[in-house]
């Protein structure tokens, strides 16, 4: 391991300065915090995108799980169906519903973070 022969001159780092050093011409950020119409529209867009995503995935769960009691009531034959000796309702509710819920949750986390990244990129866009 080589020893650095000429160390750089030491500088004092003041962490509080890091925030002050941000670009003063950051207009979009100002739009956001100062409640201009542009900022309001941006936030509304983000809220709408996140809500639409949440509602869509909730609809997937309602369709996948919520309709089961009705299905079993309307078509009792489905409830009598057996897979590997286990009645289908036991298999669906006792086992498969849990990985299904986790899968929907993972999809939500992925897309919700992407929405936020898009929003951050929009705000930080330098050419505004």
């Amino acid at each position: 391991m080589a020893v650095d022969p000429s160390p750089l001159p030491r500088t004092r780092v003041v962490l509080a300065d890091a925030t002050a050093r941000r670009d003063p011409a950051d207009r979009t950020r100002t739009d956001l915090t100062e409640q201009t119409p542009v900022g309001e529209a941006l936030v509304k867009g983000l809220v709408r995108a996140q809500l639409a995503l949440a509602l869509r995935l909730a609809a997937v769960v309602v369709a996948g799980l919520g309709t089961l009691p009705l299905l079993f009531a309307v078509a009792p034959a489905v409830g009598r169906f057996r897979v590997l000796g286990v009645p289908l309702p036991w298999l669906l509710l006792g086992f498969l519903s849990f990985p299904f819920l986790v899968g929907v949750g993972a999809a939500y986390v992925h897309w919700a973070e992407r929405n936020e990244q898009d929003f951050t990129a929009l705000i930080r866009r330098p050419d505004r």
């Binding site: 925030t19 941000r22 950020r29 956001l32 915090t33 409640q35 900022g39 309001e40 936030v43 509304k44 983000l46 809220v47 996140q50 809500l51 949440a54 995935l57 909730a58 769960v61 799980l65 919520g66 009691p69 009705l70 079993f72 009531a73 009792p76 409830g79 009598r80 009645p87 309702p89 036991w90 509710l93 006792g94 086992f95 519903s97 849990f98 990985p99 819920l101 986790v102 929907v104 949750g105 993972a106 939500y108 986390v109 919700a112 973070e113 936020e116 929003f119 951050t120 705000i123």
Partner: protein, 541 residues
């Protein structure tokens, strides 16, 4: 009595206190006590949330319900897990970003209204007590089942350990304790289940619902607990002892409500469609309104970690819920006498010895399961007590002076006294039913408040208060009627006993209607609030 039982329970209590004391070394400020200074990693936090969430109702109650009613009650574990998905989709990240520590705090942040805050405080206290009471009762009943001792000692033991731990360690210590208890509970159900399944294989896989009806797997003595009539027409009286040989058919007892044959095996046999959907609505939407669940979100450093934490919780809770169903099913084969006494909540505790015999293996596994049950009582009661104490501390004690750690300890003591006192005097309430009612109240009060408050800028304080009073109030009235009132039957029993299907839509409708009528009262800073709730932390200056 099982000789391994006492050492197992002592080890759990000692470990709980020791881990609490270890956490205490780091807990010095009020912030440590309340929110662990927000320095808990998502995986620790997720294990802690799961440990806190899996209560006596999950550990003992779900298996007991499955043993009794079969496939229709599988909606309980599915709903208990799915509640975290609803929480993830609609609440987790914005709630964390709001900076609210409790639900009353959220009212303050979003609605800028002190009356709404006071009302939310009342609901937190009611739900907290309603949920704490069955935990202590479950502890008492387990103690009585296993040791033959007095019910009150079990309830008091858990109450004292929990109060001490919360008062002296606060949230920081509790996080480690809860995380440990999640893994203990999972192990306590998973390890015995491996041996139980091997035993079932070795017994040539006896059928769960034999066509000729269930038979006793071994010679059994049953003590009848209520006056009833057997299916043979013979009348039996409380305290009467019946003896059966191995292979005798299991009689049904008229005083015990349970499903048999296809009614147990197939959907729709035990619950009506209305009751099923009401249960689904209560559990899916109630989780987000439980005070001890929300407090945990404040310990995440930011919104995205709150989301990731919730996802891990969903996976951990789902993993756990695979097991109680299997206990209920195997209980059908190995402990059919519980269907005669009606003491079905004990199936998890009794199954290892019933299936594996009274040798060392059966007794060791029986002690392990009991230790897990104790962990369930301890962790859920700790979480509930922390959150109720947090609300008493911030809303009742701190007004006018700065809160100190001593005040938090006083709040903990206050929060523990009422449910402990109630648990000592009321011992005949059904554990799973009371927990289900707590979910219904949470789903009809805090769920609309959170969902509308986070996603709809039109929610006003007047609308929120009107919705809380009508929807939440209706659910509270239904709970009080069910718990204290006369037994109901017919449609009234369904509508009152499973109220969520009408109280949740009512709460949403009144909140929306009331807010539309009072649109002028919308807070001035609603845009700033929405920005704070939804914008990623990286944009904050």
């Amino acid at each position: 009595m099982n000789p391994y039982l006492l050492p197992g329970l002592v080890v759990v209590v000692l470990l709980t206190v020791a881990i609490g004391a270890y956490g205490l070394r780091f807990a010095r400020t009020t912030s440590d006590f309340l929110v662990a200074s927000r320095s808990v990693s998502p995986s620790w936090n997720a294990a802690a949330i799961s440990g806190e969430y899996l209560s006596a109702a999950s550990f003992l109650g779900v298996a007991g319900l499955v043993l009794r009613y079969g496939v229709d009650v599988l909606w309980y574990p599915v709903g208990f897990a799915a509640g975290y998905l609803a929480l993830l989709l609609f609440v987790a990240a914005p709630l964390r970003r709001s900076g609210a520590f409790t639900l009353p705090d959220f009212c303050q942040v979003r609605l800028r209204s002190v009356p709404a805050r006071r009302l939310a405080t009342l609901f937190v206290l009611f739900i907290g007590c309603l949920y704490l009471l069955p935990q202590l009762q479950g502890a008492g009943l387990t103690f009585r089942t296993l040791t033959g001792g007095h019910y009150a000692w079990g309830a008091l033991l858990v109450a004292v350990v929990v109060t001490g731990n919360v008062a002296f360690g606060g949230m920081r210590a509790i996080t480690f304790v809860q995380a440990f208890q999640y893994w203990l509970k999972l192990t306590a159900l998973a390890v015995p289940m491996i041996f139980l399944i091997l035993q079932w294989q070795a017994d040539a896989r006896p059928a769960v619902t034999p066509p000729a009806g269930a038979v006793f797997p071994a010679a059994t003595t049953v003590v009848i607990e209520q006056d009833a009539v057997l299916d043979s027409g013979r009348a039996v009286h409380a305290g009467e002892t019946l003896s059966f040989a191995a292979g005798d058919p299991v009689p049904t007892v008229s005083a015990v409500d349970a499903g048999f044959g296809d009614g147990w095996l197939l959907p729709g046999g035990q619950k009506s469609l209305f009751a099923t959907y009401s249960l689904i609505l209560a559990t899916f939407l109630g989780t987000m309104g439980l005070p001890h669940v929300l407090v945990r979100f404040y310990t995440n450093p930011d919104g995205s970690s709150a989301r990731r934490t919730t996802l891990v919780v969903l996976a951990l809770v789902g993993l756990f819920y695979l097991l109680p169903t299997l206990y209920g099913v195997l209980g059908r084969i190995y402990t059919p006498q519980l269907l005669m006494t009606g003491n079905t909540d004990a199936v998890v505790l009794l199954l290892p010895e019933a299936a594996l015999g009274h040798g060392h293996l059966g007794r060791l596994l029986g002690a392990l399961v009991t230790a897990g049950a104790l962990a369930a009582f301890l962790s859920t009661s700790s979480g509930l007590l922390t959150s109720v104490a947090g609300v008493i501390f911030t809303d009742l004690l701190r007004s006018g002076r700065n809160g100190s750690v001593r005040d938090f300890r006083l709040a903990t003591l206050l929060a523990a006294v009422v449910p402990t006192g109630l648990a000592l005097f009321v011992s005949d309430m059904d554990v799973s039913q009371v927990v289900g009612l707590a979910f219904a109240v949470a789903a009809s009060s805090f769920c609309p408040l959170l969902v509308l408050g986070i996603w709809w800028r039109g929610l006003t304080d007047t609308g929120a208060i009107a919705g809380l009073i009508t929807g939440g109030g209706a659910a509270v009235a239904a709970v009080l009627l069910t718990v204290l009132g006369p037994p109901l039957d017919g449609w009234a029993a369904e509508v009152i006993g499973q109220p969520a299907a009408w109280t949740v839509p009512l709460a949403f409708a009144v909140m929306i209607g009331g807010s539309l009528l009072t649109g002028r009262r919308r807070p001035d800073d609603i845009n700033a609030t929405m920005l704070r709730l939804h914008a990623p932390e990286s944009l904050r200056t």
